[in-house]
């Protein structure tokens, strides 16, 4: 597939008159007008750098990956080491979030969705976020190496590298396929947890990876359809801005069909049984229906180009995209929960 490369340089957003830009890396600019120029950031601001909401999904899928690994309950890793491994994966995800906020500090202030993050709010300097993210990354990988094995630790290190360098620094600003490839970063956590138990990468852990990998594009593109002005304002080449809303809606349905097919794989590998099969049919079926509604809608179309009759259709379409986005979050939680419950309690049924 030919990928249109849209080179977005930092100069595109250099004109943004954010507080962070004016302050640079000078802590004094972030503190009260009087005083010694010390930072006013508290522990909560550093915690916000770790993207807690994203972390919750990472933790959940990682727990599922760990429980799905053979030997997880028979003591091959131990409860204590399992807990510490999950903690390391969460810490690694948080560190990636902080490093992402450091690099994107030039554009976050201009997007409504990200304008309340600690750096654009002027509470933290980008350098503080970089230092925090780096230290947390090293701590997470090192602790995971001590608690489990080098395969899991290497995978976690690669995940952080992939999210920061491959996705944030490279793909995000250069191609509308950014989240397709970049989505791999979010798909690694269950694989890392699986490796923490087994010390290997297997077909089952690869299936867990693929499910999240193919879930990511429809999830993000649904959001991008009704938030495209946000991304467009800072020059991020999301698919709706670059290729248009109709192409995005088509790719959403294509990836949703692929996702539906991939979610059948656990039945073939033996990871899931009949309970998962039924649950998945309902969950993925609903996903497909919502994706179809987005495909058939006018979501993301520019209202200015439409007459008053179609304005209503665009609004309905955007609502359909919003429904898909919100459902997709619930979907991933539910799918992994059903698969894990089936594997643990109904194995062999």
């Amino acid at each position: 597939m030919a990928v249109t490369r849209v080179t977005i340089t930092r100069s595109v957003v250099s004109s943004l008159n954010t507080q962070q830009e004016a302050a640079g890396d000078n802590p004094a600019a972030f503190s009260a007008p009087t005083g010694a120029g010390l930072s006013l950031a508290g522990p909560g601001d550093y915690f916000a750098l770790m993207k807690p909401r994203v972390m919750s999904l990472v933790i959940f899928t990682a727990i599922c990956g760990l429980l799905l690994a053979p030997g997880s309950l028979s003591g091959s890793i131990g409860f204590g080491s399992a807990l510490i491994s999950i903690f390391c994966i969460a810490l690694g995800a948080g560190a990636s979030g902080a490093l992402n906020m450091w690099y994107d500090s030039d554009i976050d202030g201009a997007m409504a969705r990200t304008s309340q993050r600690p750096i654009p709010r002027g509470v933290l300097t980008p350098r503080a976020a970089l230092g925090f993210g780096f230290v947390m990354s090293v701590a997470a990988v090192w602790l995971l190496l001590v608690a489990s094995n080098w395969v899991a630790a290497s995978l976690l290190a690669f995940t952080i590298f992939f999210y920061l360098v491959i996705y944030t620094m490279w793909l995000k600003r250069s191609t509308p396929q950014n989240i397709v490839i970049g989505g791999a970063a979010g798909a690694f956590p269950p694989m890392v947890a699986y490796a923490a138990v087994t010390g290997t990468i297997t077909l089952d852990s690869l299936v867990l990876f693929l499910i999240i990998f193919f879930w990511t594009p429809p999830h993000f593109w649904a959001l991008a359809l009704y938030k495209q002005t946000d991304y467009g304002r800072v020059g991020i080449p999301m698919l709706p801005n670059v290729k248009g809303a109709p192409r995005t809606r088509t790719e959403i349905i294509i990836y949703s069909v692929l996702l539906f097919g991939l979610t059948q794989l656990p039945l073939l590998t033996g990871l899931g049984g009949i309970v998962y099969g039924i649950g998945n049919l309902l969950l993925s079926g609903t996903f497909l229906v919502l994706a179809w509604r987005v495909f058939r809608s006018r979501a993301g179309d520019k209202p200015a180009e439409t007459d008053s009759d179609t304005l209503y259709a665009v609004r309905n379409g955007n609502q359909a995209a919003r429904n898909l986005f919100l459902y997709s979050i619930l979907y991933l939680f539910a799918l992994f929960a059903v698969l894990t419950v089936d594997h643990l309690f109904f194995a062999g049924v």
Binding site: S31, A32, T34, G35, A36, G37, L38, S39, L40, A41, G42, P43, Y46, G78, G80, S81, I84, F87, A139, L143, V146, A147
Partner: protein, 50 residues
């Protein structure tokens, strides 16, 4: 003998908010390091063959 302890004579006094924020950060760093060391120690112990 020159007295240096009272120099510099002019310096910016941290505000109450700044001191509170710095204390919060210091406590968080101390607790974080302590927790990290505990986890390292526990991990090493758990990996010892029974």
């Amino acid at each position: 003998m020159a007295e240096y302890r009272k120099e510099p004579t002019e310096f910016a006094e941290p505000t109450r908010e700044e001191i509170r924020a710095r204390t919060g950060r210091n406590i968080a760093i101390a607790l974080g390091l302590f927790f990290f060391l505990i986890l390292i120690a526990v991990s090493i112990v758990l990996r010892q063959p029974a």
